[in-house]
Amino acid sequence: MTVLTAGRKALDRLLQLILLALMLAITLIVVYSVIMRTSGNAPSWYDEIAAIILCWVTYFGAAYAALKRGHIGFEGLINVMPPPLRIAAVFLGEILVIAFFVLLGWMGMRVLRVLEGDGLVSLPWVPLQLTHSIIPVGATLFILAQLLSLPEYLAQARAGVLGKKDAGEETKEKLE
């Protein structure tokens, strides 16, 4: 196993575990609050915490989707470009995506510095630095996922089979 596949597997596994835990947490919090409300004791922190977990699902999940190249886009045009143009287009796209997340992560860090000492409205002991840390963390994970999945994406682009089902096998066939 190459370092690349090992890295991809490790990140895949890590993100899967995090996402599973977050999904369970969301479900339990919503159900717990509905039950508590029927007895007149709705927890005050419920909406705030649930929405924050959704935000965490968004950025951990976005990195996971990036690893699988599952974000909504339009592959059709790249597939029909002449091969040299395809590679150029892929590289330009990748550079722009990574640049965006570098900027997002960097700005996220600057925001964290400003938030020092602040806490949530409903649970003041939970620092905003913790909740907002998802932006730089998520951006870093997204970049990592994008880089780790780049070689396969590039191979598929080269073969002109981006976004097609069983693209992996088709790429192999075309490359052979």
Binding site: L20, I26, I52, L54, L96, M107
Partner: protein, 427 residues
């Protein structure tokens, strides 16, 4: 002028397969730099955080999760057996069962892609085995899955409600009549095609068999009652109803039927989280562009532009319908709602269209968009299960798409049909 430039950049980015969510972010960075300067860039991180912290949208992962639990247990198999026992004696029974099962399933799941994956993976092979052409099998499964987002609960309606500030529960109620009527219309089309092509009947009708299938599926039929009952009864919000759906599906799968496949379930929960993230990233980055568009008063300007041409409500509805149908060819439904709804809402309210009525129109319209290639998420799933060519399936599917278009036209121009229930219960 700057708007057109930004739009052009977004189109170029999309053409080189930059994810639309990231493309929007890049465009927004450009807009911030040009209009406000680099000192405002930290807003990027703040808005991307706030945009994803959207409480009503919690319903998305929860409804996906509930659907996943159903798929990981025998609930869908039982529903199919029940439908087959009820209509198996009719010509083209399997095709009619496909529509019927989707009508049941739609009351638990809110995603057409999840529906077609769940029902298609059982019914498409079954139809192929009984001699139906594979293009037809894929087409009927694909179109029937559209019911999932018209009949409540519905993920596109939840997204629309959040984007347009419309009542999600009222949207759900508005979907009931068109969804059920559309289901029967699709069944009629399937029956007509079956008669013409001589497709088989499945089994003789027997009350005993129907009774047994009913008992077997009793708890599965109970699920919609729990979910929709708690939402429409006002005990929980639509978002919380999604949490109730997860628990109810889990309890029935794990303790009544006792056949949940845990590994499948964990996998499905992760997939659900990933699908949610794809939509939510788009919501977050469109919030970024939204800040800029609102500052520049773009939605208002667009509304004024169209109003200077016509203020006729029906003409505006026709323009919007054509626009959304074209958009549906190239955009996923969630993306279309997130990008376009906030921009057209001022126009919609200015000509006096009820936001709930419009939400239903958008939902049906984009349901059709999921059937029309090149970008057609639901159709693609059906085709890959059937191993059929997308364009061949589309040729057959056109007949079902006409049915859906007829539903869209009726809903658009006879608002009383979907809205009477809303008025009766809520206004």
């Amino acid at each position: 002028m700057i708007i057109l430039l930004l739009l052009a950049i977004l189109i170029v980015l999309t053409a080189i397969n930059v994810p639309i969510a990231v493309g929007l972010g890049i465009v927004a960075v450009g807009a911030i730099l040009v209009t406000q300067g680099a000192q405002m860039l930290p807003n990027l991180a703040l808005v991307m955080y706030e945009g994803a912290t959207n409480f009503p949208l919690l319903a998305i992962p929860l409804f996906i999760f509930a659907g996943a639990i159903m798929n990981a247990s025998s609930i869908s198999r039982r529903l199919i057996a029940l439908c087959l026992a009820a209509v198996g004696f009719i010509r083209g029974a399997l095709a009619i069962v496909t529509v019927g099962v989707n009508m049941f399933y739609a009351e638990i799941s809110g995603s057409a892609v999840a529906d077609v994956a769940a029902t298609g993976s059982i019914l498409i092979p079954a139809m192929k085995k009984r001699g139906y052409p594979k293009a037809f099998a894929a087409a009927v499964c694909s179109s029937a899955a559209t019911l999932a987002i018209i009949i409540p609960p519905s993920i596109p309606m939840i997204i629309y409600g959040a984007m347009a500030n419309a009542s999600i529960v009222q949207l759900f109620v508005a979907g009931i009549v068109p969804g059920v009527a559309g289901g029967f219309a699709l069944m009629a089309m399937a029956y007509w095609l079956a008669r013409r092509n001589g497709w088989p009947v499945e089994e003789f009708f027997s009350w005993q068999k129907l009774g047994r299938a009913f008992l077997d599926a009793f708890w599965a039929l109970f699920l919609p009652l729990i979910i929709l009952g708690s939402i429409f009864g006002g005990f929980v919000t639509a978002t919380e109803g999604a949490g109730v759906a997860v628990v109810a599906a889990f309890l029935i799968g794990a303790f009544v039927y006792r056949d949940i496949q845990w590994r499948e379930l964990a996998k499905a929960a992760i997939e659900g989280a990933s699908h949610t993230a794809v939509v939510m990233l788009l919501v977050a980055s469109s919030a970024l562009v939204g800040v800029y568009l609102t500052e520049q008063k773009v939605p208002q300007q667009m509304a004024e532009g169209i109003l200077s041409l016509t203020s006729n409500k029906y003409l505006v509805l026709a323009i919007l319908n054509v626009f959304f149908l074209l958009l549906g060819l190239f955009l996923h439904s969630a993306a279309a709602i997130i990008l376009v709804v906030p921009v057209v809402m001022p126009l919609v309210t200015a000509v006096g269209i009820d936001p709930v009525h419009f939400g239903l129109i958008v939902t049906i319209n984009l349901g059709i968009g999921q059937q029309t290639p090149p970008v057609a998420s639901v159709l693609m799933v059906a085709c890959s299960i059937a191993k059929a060519n997308v364009w061949e399936v589309t040729k057959v599917n056109l007949k079902f798409i006409y049915v859906l278009l007829a539903v869209l036209l009726i809903v658009t121009y006879v608002p009383e049909i979907p809205m009477s229930l809303v008025h009766f219960f809520y206004r």
